[in-house]
Symmetry: C2
Amino acid sequence: MAEKPPATAEAECCPSVLAAPLSDTDAQQLAKGFAALGDPVRIRLLSLIAASGEICSCDLEQPLGKAQPTISHHTKTLADAGLITREKRGRWVWWQVRPERLDALRSALDGT
Amino acid sequence: MAEKPPATAEAECCPSVLAAPLSDTDAQQLAKGFAALGDPVRIRLLSLIAASGEICSCDLEQPLGKAQPTISHHTKTLADAGLITREKRGRWVWWQVRPERLDALRSALDGT
């Protein structure tokens, strides 16, 4: 399941973690999303992207205090987990959050 | 901040990830919680504990298909992140979820 594209994965995703014992498939999808959020730099990165609506990679270096290769590594992890999307414009990439994917992770924590 | 006990950490935790650029401290606290959820075995473990209200470690082996040392490793990670609590009864440990901590992580994903 980990190789499925995000759109397909999302369609199957995400029952509440707390509703019942989860299938392996659902657990894998959820874990991939949560793992992407499991790093303070990526949390701050997501926060910056969300607060900006959309943001150029070139505007992430200063607030994060990280160089482009580090930023690229973390944006790739977030994008692979389906949490952000990219759009190339000239030499830079612009990022936006995918609220539906964050919604799915939030819903998985419902029911407490 | 990572060394603070969960109770203190929670009191300071968790503004929405999406509301504004986050402080390093908030990002660290959130990342620790999400990282604990970033593994399919731990997601299934949490699901089993939540579905049972409370559950003995001895009843986790069969549904997870894992041996006690593996289960202990994962319950420790969840407990260290403040997501579950333990109570020792005789030779076994019983586990419960901490809904307030899961609520805090869910709230951090609000605002999408």
